[in-house]
Amino acid sequence: MKKNRWLFAFALVLILLPLWWARGSEFGGTDDQAERAIQTLAPHYRPWFESIFTPPGGEVETLLFSLQAALGAGVIGYVIGLYKGRSERKNGHDSRV
C-alpha cells in the first residue's frame, strides 16, 4: 500500500499545480467554452433543444454534483471494505501490506 501513497501524492500535485500555474483564471467548464467556439464557427446556429431539467442556480447544481460523487464514493468504500473484510476473515489476520 506504500505505492498508493506515492501515487496519491502525485495525483494531488497534478490537481493542485494548475491552481498555481494558471492562477488568475476562473477554471470555467470546457463545455461552456465549446458553446462559444461553436458560436464563432457558426454564428447563426441556434440550439434546437433545451435541457428538460436545468438545476435552478449554481448552488443546486453543486448539490447534485456532490451527490453524484458521494453516492459513487459510498459504493466504492462499501465494496472495498467488503473485500477487505472477506480477505481478513479468510487469512485470519490483518491483511494490510
Binding site: 500500500m1 505505492k3 498508493n4 501515487l7 496519491f8 495525483a11 497534478l14 490537481i15 499545480l17 494548475p18 491552481l19 500555474w21 494558471a22 488568475g24 483564471s25 476562473e26 477554471f27 470555467g28 467548464g29 470546457t30 463545455d31 467554452q33 465549446a34 458553446e35 462559444r36 467556439a37 461553436i38 464557427l41 457558426a42 446556429y45 440550439p47 434546437w48 433543444f49 433545451e50 435541457s51 428538460i52 431539467f53 438545476p55 447544481e61 447534485l64 454534483f65 456532490s66 453524484q68 460523487a69 453516492l71 459513487g72 464514493a73 459510498g74 459504493v75 466504492i76 465494496v79 472495498i80 467488503l82 473485500y83 477487505k84 472477506r86 480477505s87 491483511s95 494490510r96 501490506v97
Partner: protein, 247 residues
C-alpha cells in the same frame, strides 16, 4: 538505476508540458443539449444504438453466468460515477472531468462499460443539464463506446507481455480518457466545419486546445485507476485478481 532514470524522464516531460502550455480557452467535456444539428444528432444516435444493444446483451449474460461479478461491476460503475462528477482544474485555466471508463473496461472487457457509461451520461443529462438527450448518442459514442474499446485494446499490451500489468492499466485509463475527447472534437468538427479550412481546421481548433486541458486529467485518471486496482489486488478481491498475485 533504471528507476531513477525513468523518474527523470517523467519529470522532464512534465516540466516541458507545463512550460509549453499557457492559459487559453479549451473546448471539451460533453456536447451540450441542442448543440448538434438534428441530422448529426440522429447520425450519432444511429451509430451508437447497436453498440448499446450488444452491450446490454453482454451485460445480462455476464451477470447470469458470473453473478459474483456483480459487486465488482458496481465498483466499476461507481468509479465512473465519481470521476465524471469531479471537475478538475487544468493548466489551461479551465476545468474538465475524467471519464473513469478504463478501469471497468480492463476488468470486464469493453461491453459492460458501454452500458454503465451510458447510464452515467443519462443521469448527468437528465439531472444536471450536463450533456443532453439529443446529444446523448454522440456523447455516449465517444465516452461509452470509443472509451472502453480503446481502454480494452491498450490493456491487451499486458496480455501480450509488452508492458507490466500496472503500466498497461495506467495507459488504458489514460488513453481512453483522451480518446473520448478526441472523438468529441471530431463530432463537433464535422458538425461545425470552419468557414475556411473546413472540417480539419475545425478539428484542430477543437482538439488541439482541449487535448491540452485533458492531458493532466487523463494522467490523474490513470493514477487513480491503478490505486483502486492496488487496493483490490491486495485483498484478492475476486478471481479476476488471482492471476495477478505476485506480479
Amino acid at each position: 538505476m533504471m528507476r531513477t532514470s525513468r523518474w527523470v524522464v517523467i519529470a522532464a516531460l512534465l516540466t516541458s508540458y507545463f512550460f509549453l502550455t499557457n492559459e487559453q480557452d479549451a473546448y471539451a467535456m460533453h456536447i451540450m443539449e441542442g448543440f448538434l444539428p438534428a441530422k448529426w444528432a440522429l447520425f450519432w444516435w444511429g451509430l451508437f444504438l447497436p453498440f448499446f444493444l450488444v452491450g446490454l446483451r453482454r451485460l445480462v449474460r455476464t451477470l447470469k453466468e458470473h453473478p459474483e461479478q456483480k459487486l465488482l461491476m458496481a465498483l466499476a460503475g461507481a468509479f465512473t460515477f465519481v470521476l465524471s462528477a469531479l471537475k478538475i482544474p487544468s493548466v489551461t485555466g479551465s476545468s474538465s472531468h475524467p471519464t473513469g471508463i478504463g478501469f471497468g473496461a480492463a476488468l470486464f472487457g469493453p461491453w459492460v462499460m458501454v452500458v454503465i457509461g451510458t447510464l452515467v451520461l443519462l443521469f448527468q443529462a437528465l439531472l444536471l443539464a450536463h450533456g443532453g438527450l439529443t446529444t446523448l448518442g454522440a456523447n455516449a459514442l465517444s465516452m461509452a463506446v470509443v472509451g472502453p474499446l480503446v481502454a480494452f485494446s491498450v490493456y491487451q499490451l499486458h496480455r501480450r507481455g509488452l508492458v507490466s500489468h500496472r503500466v498497461a492499466l495506467f495507459l488504458a485509463a489514460c488513453l481512453s480518457d483522451l480518446a473520448t475527447y478526441v472523438t468529441t472534437s471530431v463530432q463537433l468538427a464535422v458538425a461545425f466545419p470552419a468557414p475556411d479550412g473546413g472540417v480539419l481546421a475545425s478539428f484542430l481548433k477543437f482538439a488541439g486546445i482541449f487535448a491540452i486541458t485533458q492531458v493532466p486529467l487523463a494522467v490523474t485518471e490513470g493514477i487513480l485507476t491503478v490505486m483502486v486496482w492496488n487496493w483490490l489486488a491486495s485483498y484478492q478481491a475476486s478471481p479476476l485478481f488471482e492471476r495477478e498475485k505476485g506480479a
